[in-house]
Amino acid sequence: MNDTFELRSGGTHIEVHKFYPGAIVVVAVAALVFQAMAPVYFPKLSILDLPLLVTIYFGLSRRNPSTGLLLGTAIGLAQDALSGPTVPLGFYGMGKTVIGYLASSIGARLDTEHPAARFSLIFGFFVVHQAVLVVVRRLLLAQPEPWMNVRLAIAAAVNALVGTVLFLVFDRLRRRS
C-alpha cells in the first residue's frame, strides 16, 4: 500500500497521506483519555480540545469527507460518553462530525501542510466547532451557551498554537514511501 496518494482536483495535485496501522485509533484514544484525565490534575488544560485537534488533523490528512466525518462522529461520541451524564450523546458528536467533514473537504482542495495554514485552519475550525455546539445547545437542547467570548477566543488561539505543534508530531505517524 502506498504511503501517499495524489488527488487530481482542477489540475491541482494534493497528497493523501496514509498512517501506520492503528495510528489513528491510538491517537484518538490517547487524545480522549488525555482530555478526560488532564483537567483533573491540571485544570487549566481544560482549555484544550485534543479530540478536536485529532479530528482536524486526520481530516486534513486523509482528505476524504466521508472518512473524516465518520472519524469525527466516532471521536465526538466518545467524548460525549466521557463527558458525564450532563452532556448528551451527540453534542460533541455533531460538532466533530461537521469539523471532520469540513477538514476533509478543505484538505482535499488546499495545501494544509504549512504551519501558518494549519494555525489558521485550527483557529477557524475551533470557531466553527463552537458555533455548532452553540446551535445544538440553544436550538436543540434549549440550553444557554455562549457564542464567543474572550475565553473562547483565547482557547481558539491556544488550541491553534498547540495543534500546529502537535500536527508536526502527528506527521511522524505517516507512512513514508
Binding site: F5, E6, L7, R8, S9, V16, N64, P65, S66, L69, L70, T73, L77, P88, L89, G90, F91, G93, M94, T97, V98, Y101, S104, S105, A108, V136, L140, L141, A142
Partner: protein, 310 residues
C-alpha cells in the same frame, strides 16, 4: 490513485450522521413538563402538517359533502322525512293510547271505588250525524244489561241517558241536547231546578227564583228527582247568572267533557253514587268542539227527558 469521493455522497452521509445524532439527542433529553425531546420535536414538527392536513381535509370533505354528495343527501333526506312521518304517526298513536289508558284508568278507579255499584263501561263508537241533536252511540247494548233511561256518566260527572238500546249498542242523549236534561240542585244551597240542554256546549238551569242566591262557580249536582240519575252526581258549574223575572237565567258548564267523550259508564241501577273523592271538573269556558258526526244512528226524539219542575 484514489478517486475523489462523490461530493453528494459525502454530503448525504454528513446529513445522515447529523440527523442520527439529532435523533439520539432527542431520545436522551427529557423535558420535565413536556416529556422527551423527541416527542416534543415530533409533535412540533407534525403539528403544522397535521393542522394543514386537517384544514385541507375538512375543506375537501365540506366541498364533497355540500356539492358532490347531494345525491346521497337527498336520499337521506327522503328517508329521514319518511322516518319522521312514521315517528309522528307513532307519537300520535302513543298519545292516543296514553290518553285512552288514562281514561280507562279513570274508569277502573271509579269502578274500584264503587265496587258494589252495578255499572258497565262503554266505548263511544259514534255520535250524532248532525248538529240538530247531541247524541252518542256506545258499544254496549241489551246483552250487557243496558236499558232505556239508564243514566250515563263519566268519572267527571253526568253525561246523559240511554234513549235507545240495541243488541250490542245503545244511543245516549247528552245533557246538552235540547231534549236532554236532569234533575239538579245547587250543591251549596241545595236549591233544586232542572238542568237542560240548549243545543250548545253549555246548559241552562231553570226555575231558580230570582231571590235565590246563586254565584258563579257554584257546583251543580243531580238531585235524584228525575228517577234516572242518582243523587249528587256532578252536573256542572255555574258560569253565568243573570237576573230574570220570575227566574234567574243560569248558564252551566258541564262537568263531564261532553264534546270529547270516548268512554262512558252506564249505571245499571239508580242507587245513589257518591262522588266524595272526585271533584267535578270546572271548565271555565264554553267548549267549541262539535261532536263527531260519523256513524251515528238516528235519535229518537220521542224519548222523554228527565226534567223536574220546581
Amino acid at each position: 490513485m484514489v478517486a475523489i469521493p462523490s461530493k453528494h455522497k459525502s454530503l448525504a452521509l454528513l446529513a445522515g450522521v447529523l440527523l442520527a445524532q439529532v435523533l439520539m439527542l432527542a431520545v436522551q433529553i427529557k423535558r420535565d413538563e413536556r416529556g422527551r425531546l423527541i416527542r416534543v420535536w415530533a409533535i412540533s414538527a407534525a403539528y403544522p402538517f397535521e393542522r394543514s392536513g386537517a384544514w385541507a381535509f375538512g375543506k375537501v370533505r365540506g366541498v364533497w359533502d355540500h356539492y358532490f354528495a347531494l345525491r346521497t343527501t337527498a336520499r337521506e333526506n327522503e328517508a329521514l322525512r319518511i322516518e319522521n312521518d312514521a315517528l309522528k304517526l307513532t307519537i300520535t298513536q302513543l298519545q292516543t293510547r296514553a290518553s285512552e289508558a288514562d281514561r280507562l284508568a279513570s274508569l277502573l278507579n271509579f269502578k274500584q271505588q264503587h265496587e258494589k255499584l252495578p255499572i258497565v263501561g262503554g266505548r263511544v263508537i259514534a255520535a250524532s250525524a248532525g248538529t240538530a241533536s247531541r247524541t252518542i252511540e256506545i258499544d254496549r247494548g241489551e246483552r250487557d244489561g243496558v236499558r232505556k233511561n239508564m243514566a250515563v256518566i263519566t268519572p267527571d260527572g253526568a253525561v246523559g241517558k240511554v234513549i235507545e238500546v240495541y243488541r250490542d249498542t245503545a244511543q245516549v242523549l247528552l245533557l246538552t241536547d235540547k231534549e236532554g236534561g236532569a234533575g239538579a240542585m245547587l250543591l251549596d244551597s241545595r236549591t233544586q231546578g232542572p238542568v237542560g240542554g240548549t243545543g250548545e256546549p253549555t246548559m241552562q238551569m231553570k226555575y231558580v227564583a230570582t231571590e235565590e242566591n246563586v254565584t258563579v262557580g257554584e257546583k251543580i249536582v243531580t238531585s235524584g228527582m228525575d228517577k234516572i240519575f242518582p243523587r249528587d252526581i256532578p252536573i256542572g258549574t255555574v258560569v253565568e247568572v243573570k237576573p230574570g223575572t220570575p227566574f234567574k237565567q243560569i248558564r252551566v258548564q258541564p262537568a263531564a267533557k261532553l264534546d270529547r267523550l270516548e268512554t262512558v259508564i252506564v249505571l245499571l241501577t239508580q242507587e245513589p253514587v257518591e262522588f266524595k273523592s272526585e271533584t267535578p271538573g270546572t271548565q271555565t269556558g264554553a267548549a267549541t268542539n262539535e261532536p263527531s258526526t260519523q256513524g251515528a244512528a238516528p235519535v229518537a226524539p220521542t224519548v222523554p227527558t228527565a226534567t223536574e219542575k220546581p
